[in-house]
């Protein structure tokens, strides 16, 4: 339709028109974000940008300096070159692909960037420690733990930390100041060429941008004895500096945190394209409560917001540098990003009490320091009419030293423990061919191959190990526009998760050979996007994992899990019936089970639904609310934890240069288990000794209030 309008306009005006219309297939990967007409004002899922004002089409022709020759006077004036920019909503590549814009991000309750992930449909976030420690994520039937199944990138820089001492693929969003996140691209499944390691459930791309044009400084206070200061200065586009500092006593026991972050980004035209450099610095000290036994809570022996461990705590630090460039090269579009950095992690925790050591307890210390670097290139080039080539290449690696040791009652390291040096490298490349046909059909297919190298040394024994593993990840997707507003999708893809490097250094014999975990996913769906005011869509998905290898952090053995299958469906609707009123809802249902036994994958919520809305009041004030419905979750061994209904609300108003903001988490003060596990523990020396698993919970926040004020210039 946009092309037709442009052509008609040009014909009528007899002027050349340059229509900046991006081809339908150009949303297939993340680089298109920069080209987007997306101004960050849309809401979750399918929101469309208000069409931009078209450029003037009939400028006054300029009068000639001198009278033309008589013959020339009879000629019509020479055509004046015009440029007409036509912006249109770009179609997605899969039914589940989503974009969360700045307005949704700015109106959501948040204490840190971790909370922004809660806006992703179908994602459940469990923060079982204070701010600063990475959260646990669930998506599409996967318990991704700290990031083992969800790839997360910031401006194209992958943040998953493979072989992390605390959890494989550990994600730390420290330094990503939430005000600087202008949007989140969501790619569920592993259907896209640019998705790499840990994208077995999907990929989340966080895009940074100046929170605004000008300067803002603000502070907020919360009912958890929370204080936060933040400031930013930006050009309204991609250049900004932002910082935050937080201290929070937290709700309940052992949830205090102090953290700070500084994020700077500069974007400018370069070499015919656009480049950016960014730097992020962060540090955090956080408490780590141990999950409480449900039977102790029910017996009144411990509060829901208590902690079975009175000394759990940790700290992290990171410096991250990145640079990127995108532009037109050889008839195509190239996007590149490179990164380097270093991070540290330390955690002292005891989640099992006195189960293993009835005298000194089961406290352990985990420490790690790593350096990392990498680079990635993505190139898209139209070939023949209707054909588009996409290629990608990536090299990345890290080196780390890590230690895990038990601590006695005086927190003195015990003799036993593990200490390792690890280096890993990943080199990957791939290509797809996309084809537009018949005016409504788009088909793309290809594959990516990764070679992963592992080097590990057990410092205590001097034992070395080296290995190479390969991953082949085919992908294919089909999109068909049934009508202008309705599109149907089909996709298949393979994701992969590398094994941990420590898996190649077994402490004892008996484990299985460490190997790549590969997941095969498929999706069918449809979207209906008739206007800026309505978006509806849904998808059915399935994922099969033939065999996962996981590393038990106690024995050091690599273990194999039986095959799992996940199948589910998700749907969403976003509607803006009035210019000031936005409503939406999304729901995901999934069955995640072990194939042979039929037993559920522990911890995965079978139902996750949200209803949200926001009202923009006169003067720019707003009120927003988000209602989360979390289904009862099956746990290991047949245990279960109850579901939850939680309402968050937020309101904000601008009074001249002042911005006032009020957030209330858990409006009805529901008592709910944000995370739950089934395992054996012995909370105190006097507790009965039992090796039988019991339900433990990490609670969701009670009702908490935060009031913020900022000055914006």
């Amino acid at each position: 339709m946009p092309r037709l309008l442009c052509s008609l306009l040009a014909l009528l005006l007899c002027v050349p028109v340059r229509a900046e219309i991006v081809a339908d297939d150009e949303w297939a990967s993340e680089e298109d974000w920069e080209e987007a007409d997306w101004d960050g004002e849309g809401w979750t899922e399918g929101a469309a940008v208000e069409p931009a004002e078209p450029a003037p089409t009939d400028p006054e022709p300029t009068a000639p300096a001198e009278a033309p020759p008589p013959a020339a006077r009879d000629l019509p004036p020479p055509p004046v070159p015009l440029e007409t920019a036509v912006k249109a909503r770009r179609p997605r590549s899969t039914a589940s692909e989503a974009r969360i814009g700045r307005r949704a991000l700015a109106r959501a309750n948040r204490t840190s960037t971790d909370d922004l992930l809660k806006l992703v449909p179908g994602v459940h976030v469990n923060r079982h420690a204070a701010e600063g420690k990475g959260p646990q994520l669930f998506l599409r039937g996967f318990d991704a733990a700290h990031g083992g199944d969800v790839e997360l990138r910031v401006d194209g820089i992958p943040l998953n930390q493979g072989s992390h001492v605390h959890g494989h693929g550990y994600l730390d969003l420290g330094g990503v100041v939430p005000e600087a996140v202008r949007g989140i691209d969501v790619k569920k499944g592993s259907f896209h060429l640019d998705q790499g390691a840990f994208a077995t459930a999907g990929t989340l791309d966080l895009h940074l941008g100046a929170p605004g044009r000008g300067v803002e400084a603000g502070t907020s206070f919360g009912s958890t004895v929370r204080g936060r200061g933040h400031a930013w200065a930006g050009d309204g586009d991609g250049t900004f500096v932002a910082g935050e500092a937080v201290t929070d006593a937290g709700f309940g026991a052992r949830r205090a945190a102090e953290r700070g972050g500084l994020l700077a980004r500069a974007q400018h035209a370069a070499l015919g394209g656009e480049g950016f450099v960014l730097g992020a610095l962060s540090g955090a000290r956080f408490d780590a409560p141990a999950p409480v036994r449900l039977d102790e809570v029910e017996a009144g022996a411990r509060g829901l917001y208590g902690s079975a461990d009175g000394r759990g705590a940790g700290d992290t630090g990171r410096v991250l540098l990145g640079a990127g460039w995108s532009g037109r090269v050889a008839g195509g579009r190239l996007k590149s990003v490179a990164w380097t950095g270093a991070s540290t992690f330390s955690l002292q925790e005891n989640v099992t009490g006195f189960l293993l050591d009835p005298e000194d307890g089961d406290r352990r210390l985990q420490e790690e320091a790593r350096a990392f670097a990498g680079a990635r290139v993505f190139y898209r080039r139209p070939l023949l009419a209707g054909l588009t080539l996409r290629t990608t290449a990536q090299v990345s690696g890290f080196a780390l030293g890590q230690r895990q040791v038990g601590l006695d009652a005086r927190s003195t390291p015990r003799a036993a423990g593990s200490e390792r040096l690890v280096a890993e490298h990943d080199a990957g490349a791939g290509a797809t061919l996309g084809w537009h046909g018949f005016g409504f059909l788009y088909v793309e297919g290809g594959a990516r191959a990764d070679a992963l190298g592992f080097l590990a040394r057990d410092v205590r024994t001097g034992k070395d190990a080296a290995a190479v593993r390969f991953a082949l990840s085919p992908c294919a997707l089909v999109r068909a526009h049934v009508t202008e507003d309705v599109a149907v999708f089909a996709a298949y893809g393979r994701g992969f998760r590398p094994p941990e490097a420590r898996a190649f250094l077994p402490a004892t014999d008996g484990g299985v050979e460490p190997d790549i975990t590969a997941t095969d996913s498929a999706e069918l769906g449809a979207r209906y996007d008739p206007s800026d005011r309505l978006a509806v869509g849904g998808a059915a998905f399935a994922t099969y994992v033939d065999r996962e290898t996981i590393t038990d952090h106690v024995s050091g053995l690599t273990l194999a899990q039986n095959a799992t299958a996940r199948a589910g469906a998700e749907g969403y609707v976003n509607v803006r019936p009035l210019s000031f009123l936005g409503l939406g809802a999304d729901a995901t249902v999934v069955a995640a089970r072990f194939v042979d036994s039929g037993d559920p994958v522990p911890g995965v919520p079978p139902v996750l639904a949200r209803v949200f809305g926001d009202v923009t009041l006169p003067g720019g004030a707003f009120v927003s609310a988000r209602w989360l419905a979390l289904g009862a979750r099956p746990l290991a061994f047949g245990a279960r934890v109850e579901g939850a209904l939680v309402l968050d609300a937020r309101a904000g108003v601008e009074l001249g240069p002042l911005v006032l903001d009020l957030q209330m988490d858990n409006v009805f003060d529901a008592r709910w288990a944000q995370g739950a596990y089934a395992y054996a523990s012995r909370p105190t020396r006097d507790s009965a000794t039992s090796a039988l698993p019991a339900v433990h919970t990490s609670p969701g926040s009670p009702r908490v209030l935060r009031l913020g004020v900022a000055a914006r210039f």
């Binding site: 318990d143 733990a145 700290h146 959890g167 039977d295 989640v351 099992t352 189960l355 293993l356 089961d362 004892t508 014999d509 008996g510 484990g511 299985v512 996981i550 038990d552 952090h553 106690v554 024995s555 053995l557 273990l559 194999a560 899990q561 039986n562 069955a591 089970r593 072990f594 036994s597 039929g598 037993d599 994958v601 522990p602 911890g603 079978p606 139902v607 419905a629 289904g631 009862a632 746990l635 290991a636 061994f637 047949g638 245990a639 109850e642 579901g643 209904l645 739950a676 596990y677 089934a678 395992y679 054996a680 523990s681 000794t689 090796a691 039988l692 698993p693 019991a694 339900v695 919970t697």
Partner: protein
């Protein structure tokens, strides 16, 4: 006793319908009586040709744990229970791995020869498919046995006769194990899915499935008998050490379903 509930998977629609209903609950469990399984002849022929018969086989057991392999396994060559227990991943409870799902806690002094069928207590078992058992050994203390009991200070008392070439050698073996020494992966196969069921029996075996015996390598005739004509095999000699190592191995232990069939 925990509330009983079937572990079997319900159809997804039913799961969906009940997804917001009901509270949290620990895993369903039941109790089973644990008895002494001594209903076998305690005889064995060793690799050195001795026919060993026991008329006393006493052991100090600190606890019995029953395990299920779950969805996680190490390799065909090594039982998972030998490696993992107790579970403690980065976040315990994530994985449906091999774990202790049943237990009988409490110190026991068991005479496997003379106390066949005697009740040891009620073991708590979660519903599940079991494939192993662990036995924690101890040393008899003054609370366990009388002051003049020969087992006092020891983990095992095995007494009987070893016969070779018509020569009988009465013997007593006093075997010491470290307090808390665990025997991992003793065979136990049962599917526990309901409240009522047959008792389980804890058995000490002299002969393993591959024909080896706990007394292999012990030359009874090389030991001088005492004044009473009884050879005493002590922990600090080679024979005692062999017995000590043998009795740490899961091949000489078992938990069996008594009478009924819960496979």
């Amino acid at each position: 006793m925990r509330a009983a509930r079937s572990l079997r998977v319900t159809p997804s629609l039913v799961v969906l319908a009940t997804c917001f209903c009901g509270g949290s609950a620990d895993a369903p469990a039941t109790e089973r009586a644990l008895v002494v399984d001594g209903g076998r002849a305690f005889t064995a022929t060793t690799d050195l040709g001795f026919e060993v018969s026991l008329d006393r086989a006493r052991a100090v057991v600190a606890s019995v744990q029953l395990t299920a392999g779950g969805e996680t396994h190490a390799s065909l060559l090594a039982p998972l229970s030998a490696a993992l227990l107790p579970q403690a991943y980065a976040h315990p409870g994530h994985e449906a791995g091999g774990d202790v799902l049943g237990e009988l806690a409490g110190r026991l002094v068991i005479d496997f020869v003379r106390d066949h069928g005697a009740a040891l207590g009620a073991a708590t078992l979660l519903f599940g498919e079991y494939d192993g058992a662990n036995v924690t050994l101890g040393k008899a203390n003054a609370d366990d046995v009388a002051g003049d009991d020969p087992l006092l200070g020891h983990s095992f008392e095995l007494a009987g006769v070893a016969v070779k070439d018509g020569v009988e050698v009465p013997f007593v073996a006093l075997v010491d194990q470290d307090e808390g020494r665990r025997v991992l992966g003793a065979p136990f196969a049962a599917a526990i899915a309901e409240d009522d069921g047959p008792a389980l029996g804890l058995a000490l075996r002299l002969t393993s499935d591959d024909g080896a015996t706990a007394f292999d390598g012990i030359d009874f005739s090389a030991h001088a008998p005492g004044d009473d004509g009884v050879v005493v095999l002590r922990a600090d000699d080679d024979a005692g050490a062999r017995l000590k190592r043998a009795l740490q191995r899961h091949e000489y232990w078992a938990v069996n379903v008594q009478g009924g069939d819960e496979s």
